[in-house]
C-alpha cells in the first residue's frame, strides 16, 4: 500500500515523517472464502505439517483476529459479528497441532468477511513443497488462458515460445494441463464468475509453470476442432523475481512495443504488477512514445502491487495534479493523485503525453490496476476497453504473526472520484469486448484490435 517519500528531518519533534506511505495494494490472494481453493491457502496447506504448540497457535490466531478488528475500515466489519467469529474459532485454534491447522482456522476467519485482500502469507522459511512460494516457477511454455464460453481458451501465445513453436495459437481450447483437466467451469452468469475463472487460471498456471527444462503435457483442441496432445519443454519465462516486504515473491513481466497501423504509431505497454522495478522501463517506454498517435496500457493479467505507483504512472498523462480516488480507512483517508511527470529519465523537462489513451482490462486486472483504471476512467483521461475487472480493490497491509507467518488484511475502501466503490464490482469498461473462441481465432487479440481502432477513431 502503501508510499513513502516525504520529510525526514531532525527537529524539535524528533524525526518527522515520511509521506505518503505506500500500502501494498496486493494481488488478490484471497477473494474471500471463494479463493481458499486456489490461492495462498491451497499452497499453504501443502506445507502445513510443522508442529506448533497450542500457545503459539492461540497467540497467532489472536494476533490475526485483533489486527483485522483494529484496522478494518468498516467498524461494523462488513456486517460480520467479529467477536462471535473469535469465540467460535478460538477453540479450533487451541486444538491446532500444526502450522497448517492454525492457518486454516485463520483463513476461515477472514473468509467470513467475504472481501478481497485477506489471506495468510506463510513464512518463507516454510518447507518447499509443490506450489509453495519458493517453488521454482521460472519456467513456462509461453501461453496464457482465460475461462470463456464454458471452456478454457488460450488467450495469448508468446511469439517464438515453446507453445508458439508447437503451433498453438489464441483461440485453441486447453483440455488438460499435466494431470489437471479443468471441469465444472464457471458460467458467465455466475455472480462469482470472475473470481472462479481467475482461480481456474491460477490452477492451470500452477501446472504450466515449473522448473526450466521440465516437460509438461498439454491436451488442446485446435482451430479445426481437432484434439492435439503436445509435450512442451518449459523455457525461461520472460519475468524477473522480486520481493516486496512480507508478500510472496512477484514474477514481474514488462514489455513495450510500438505498433504501426494504417499510418499510425501506437505504443503498447504491458506489465504484470505495480512494483518499483517496472517504473524505470515504463518511464523510458513512455519517453520513447511521446510522439506516438496513441498509447495503450495493457493491464490484463496485472494483479496489483504498490498502489503509490498508480500516482506516478498516471502522471505521465496529466499536466496538473488530478485526483484518482480516495482510500478511506478507519483512522483517516488518502487521496490518490496523478503526479505530473514533467521530467524524463535523463533529467530533461518534458510534457506529459496528451494523446488518446486506452487501458485494457479483464477479470485478471485487480487491485492497484483497478485503482488506476477506475481513477483514469473517472478523470476522463482514458478509454477503458475489455471486460470487467476483478473487483478486488481493497488497499491492504501485512502484519507479522507469532508463528512466523504474516497476514494480509485490508485497511481501506477505495472510491473513485465520481463516487464509485469498486470492491466486488470492478471497473466496467467503456467499451466491452468479450473474448470468444471465434474472435481469438480470427484476430488473435480482439481487445487489442478494439483499442487500435478506437485510437484511430480519435484522429
Amino acid at each position: 500500500m502503501f508510499s513513502h517519500s516525504g520529510l525526514l528531518l531532525a527537529n524539535r519533534r524528533g524525526l518527522l515523517l515520511a509521506l505518503p506511505l505506500v500500502f501494498g495494494c496486493a494481488t488478490p490472494l484471497a477473494g474471500g472464502s471463494d479463493s481458499t481453493a486456489s490461492g495462498t491457502v491451497a499452497r499453504a496447506t501443502r506445507i502445513q505439517d510443522e508442529a506448533i504448540t497450542s500457545q503459539v497457535a492461540v497467540e497467532t490466531f489472536e494476533k490475526a483476529w485483533s489486527a483485522i478488528g483494529e484496522t478494518h475500515f468498516d467498524p461494523d466489519m462488513n456486517g460480520v459479528d467479529w467477536d462471535a467469529v473469535h469465540d467460535e474459532l478460538l477453540p479450533r485454534a487451541r486444538e491446532a497441532k500444526t502450522v497448517g491447522d492454525v492457518r486454516e482456522v485463520i483463513q476461515e476467519m477472514v473468509g467470513r468477511l467475504g472481501q478481497s485482500h485477506f489471506a495468510v502469507l506463510p513464512a518463507r522459511s516454510a518447507p518447499d513443497q509443490e506450489g509453495a512460494y519458493d517453488r521454482d516457477v521460472d519456467g513456462g511454455v509461453g501461453l496464457d488462458v482465460r475461462v470463456r464460453e464454458g471452456r478454457v481458451l488460450v488467450s495469448s501465445v508468446e511469439a517464438q515460445g515453446p507453445a508458439w513453436r508447437a503451433g498453438v495459437r489464441p483461440g485453441w481450447v486447453l483440455l488438460r494441463s499435466g494431470s489437471y483437466a479443468p471441469n465444472e467451469l464457471p458460467d458467465k452468469d455466475d455472480p462469482q464468475f470472475r473470481k472462479r475463472a481467475y482461480a481456474v487460471r491460477q490452477r492451470i498456471e500452477g501446472r504450466l509453470f515449473g522448473s526450466i527444462g521440465e516437460q509438461v503435457e498439454l491436451e488442446l483442441r485446435n482451430g479445426d476442432d481437432e484434439t492435439v496432445t503436445l509435450d512442451l519443454t518449459r523455457e525461461k519465462r520472460r519475468v524477473e523475481k522480486h520481493a516486496f516486504g512480507d508478500l510472496p515473491p512477484f514474477y514481474l513481466h514488462f514489455e513495450a512495443e510500438s505498433i504501426e497501423r494504417d499510418g499510425l504509431r501506437i505504443g503498447r505497454i504491458q506489465f504484470s504488477n505495480w512494483f518499483l522495478p517496472v517504473m524505470q522501463p515504463l518511464n523510458k517506454a513512455v519517453d520513447r512514445m511521446r510522439d506516438h498517435d496513441g498509447m495503450i496500457l495493457d493491464l490484463r493479467g496485472n494483479g496489483g502491487g504498490a498502489a503509490a505507483m498508480t500516482m506516478g504512472i498516471a502522471g505521465h498523462f496529466f499536466t496538473e495534479r488530478v485526483p484518482l480516488g480516495t482510500q478511506k480507512m478507519r483512522d483517516g483517508e488518502f487521496t490518490y493523485v496523478a503526479m505530473p511527470q514533467l521530467v524524463n529519465a535523463r533529467g530533461q523537462r518534458v510534457e506529459p503525453f496528451q494523446g488518446p489513451l486506452v487501458i485494457l482490462i479483464d477479470e485478471t486486472s485487480a487491485s492497484s490496476s483497478e485503482v488506476f483504471a477506475g481513477g483514469m476512467q473517472a478523470a476522463g483521461r482514458a478509454h477503458v476497453i475489455g471486460e470487467t475487472s476483478m473487483g478486488a480493490v481493497l488497499p491492504a497491509r501485512t502484519t507479522h504473526l507469532p508463528n512466523g507467518d504474516a497476514i494480509l488484511h485490508a485497511l481501506g475502501d477505495f472510491t473513485t472520484p465520481d463516487g464509485r466503490l469498486l470492491e466486488g464490482i470492478g471497473v466496467v469498461p467503456d467499451e466491452p469486448v468479450p473474448l470468444t473462441r471465434a474472435a481469438l481465432l480470427a484476430s488473435g487479440d480482439p481487445q487489442l484490435e478494439a483499442a487500435l481502432r478506437w485510437i484511430a477513431s480519435q484522429r
Partner: protein, 280 residues
C-alpha cells in the same frame, strides 16, 4: 496519574453540568480548583527552553552542519531500510531514504525551493502548505529562529501521552508569504508533549500536508541517547493512518557535511527551468 484523572473527571462534570443548569456552590468550587490548576501550567516558553537546555539544542544550532543516519522500518510489514539526513546552516537540508523494494527517495530544501524525487511518483516541487513544515524543519538553527518560524506557542493542558504525564504545548507555524492564514490554520498547528517529570519531549501530533491530502500524524519519541554533547531522540515511532514507521538514529556527525551535497538534482533544476508544477 490519580490526580490527573481527578482533574479530567472534574472538568467533565463541570462542562456537563454547565450545559443544563447554573453551577452549584460545589461546582463553583470545582471551577475554582480547575482554574487554579490551569494557572499552574508552565509557560510553553519555559518548557521549550528547558528542552533546549536538556538536549543542548542551542549549541547544536550554532554548528555549521550535521549528518544523521540510521535505519527505518515500516512496522510489521517486513519493509526496512536506511536513511541519511544532512543539514547545514542557514537552511539547507537533504534527506535520503532507502526502503529497499520501495526505492530510494530524496527530499531537500535550500531555503527557497523544497523538492522531492520519489522513484514511484517522480520529481516534484513542494509548494504551498506542503512547504510549510520543510521551511521550519529546514531551518538549521531552530532555537535562534523560533519566533520567526512560529507565531504562537502556548501550554494548553496536562495529559497522558503514550503513557507519560505530559504538558501539551500548542504550536502554530507562521504562514508563508501570501498564504491564507485561516485556511491553513489546521496544517500550521501542532501539539508537542513535554514529559512533566524529565522535561524531554515525549512526542508530537500534527496534520501534515501531502500530495495525498492532509494526514494526521503522531510522533512518539521512545528513547533518547547522548551523541557527544547532544541528547537526541534516537528511537521514534511515527503513527499514520494505516501504518507506523520506526526510525532509529545510529550516528550523528557534526560539521562534516560537504556543502555541494545540497545542490539541486538535475530533475529538480529541470522543473524550475520552465513553469513549476503547481502544488495543490
Amino acid at each position: 496519574m490519580k490526580s490527573k484523572r481527578t482533574r479530567i473527571l472534574l472538568f467533565s462534570l463541570l462542562v456537563g453540568t454547565t450545559l443544563v443548569a447554573p453551577p452549584s456552590a460545589r461546582q463553583e468550587t470545582a471551577a475554582a480548583v480547575s482554574a487554579s490548576k490551569a494557572v499552574e501550567l508552565p509557560a510553553a516558553k519555559k518548557l521549550i527552553e528547558r528542552y533546549f537546555e536538556l538536549t543542548n539544542a542551542k549549541a547544536l544550532g550554532q554548528t555549521k552542519s550535521k549528518r544523521l543516519a540510521g535505519k527505518i522500518e515500516i512496522v510489521g510489514m517486513g519493509i526496512e531500510g536506511k536513511f541519511e539526513s544532512l543539514s547545514a546552516s542557514p537552511s539547507l537540508s537533504r534527506t535520503k531514504m532507502d526502503l529497499g523494494a520501495m526505492g530510494e527517495t530524496l527530499q531537500g530544501y535550500d531555503g527557497k525551493v523544497a523538492w522531492m524525487v520519489n522513484p514511484m511518483m517522480g520529481a516534484s516541487l513542494m509548494e504551498g502548505k506542503e512547504l510549510l513544515p520543510l521551511r521550519v524543519e529546514g531551518t538549521y538553527d531552530k532555537v535562534g529562529a523560533l519566533h520567526e518560524l512560529y507565531e504562537s506557542m502556548k501550554t494548553v493542558g496536562r495529559e497522558t501521552f503514550e503513557g507519560k504525564d505530559c504538558y501539551k504545548v500548542e504550536t502554530v507555524m507562521r504562514p508563508l508569504e501570501g498564504m491564507d492564514a485561516e485556511a491553513t490554520k489546521k496544517v500550521r498547528t501542532g501539539y508537542e508533549f513535554y514529559d512533566a517529570e524529565t522535561g524531554l519531549m515525549a512526542g508530537s501530533m500534527m496534520t501534515a500536508a501531502s500530495p495525498m491530502g492532509d494526514i494526521e500524524v503522531t510522533v512518539v519519541n521512545t528513547k533518547y541517547e547522548t551523541f557527544g554533547d547532544y541528547l537526541i531522540p534516537t528511537k521514534t515511532l511515527q503513527k499514520m493512518p494505516g501504518a507506523n514507521m520506526a526510525i532509529t538514529i545510529e550516528s550523528l556527525e557534526i560539521d562534516t557535511v560537504d556543502p555541494s551535497v545540497f545542490a539541486l538534482p538535475a530533475a529538480i533544476q529541470a522543473l524550475l527551468e520552465v513553469e513549476p508544477a503547481k502544488a495543490q
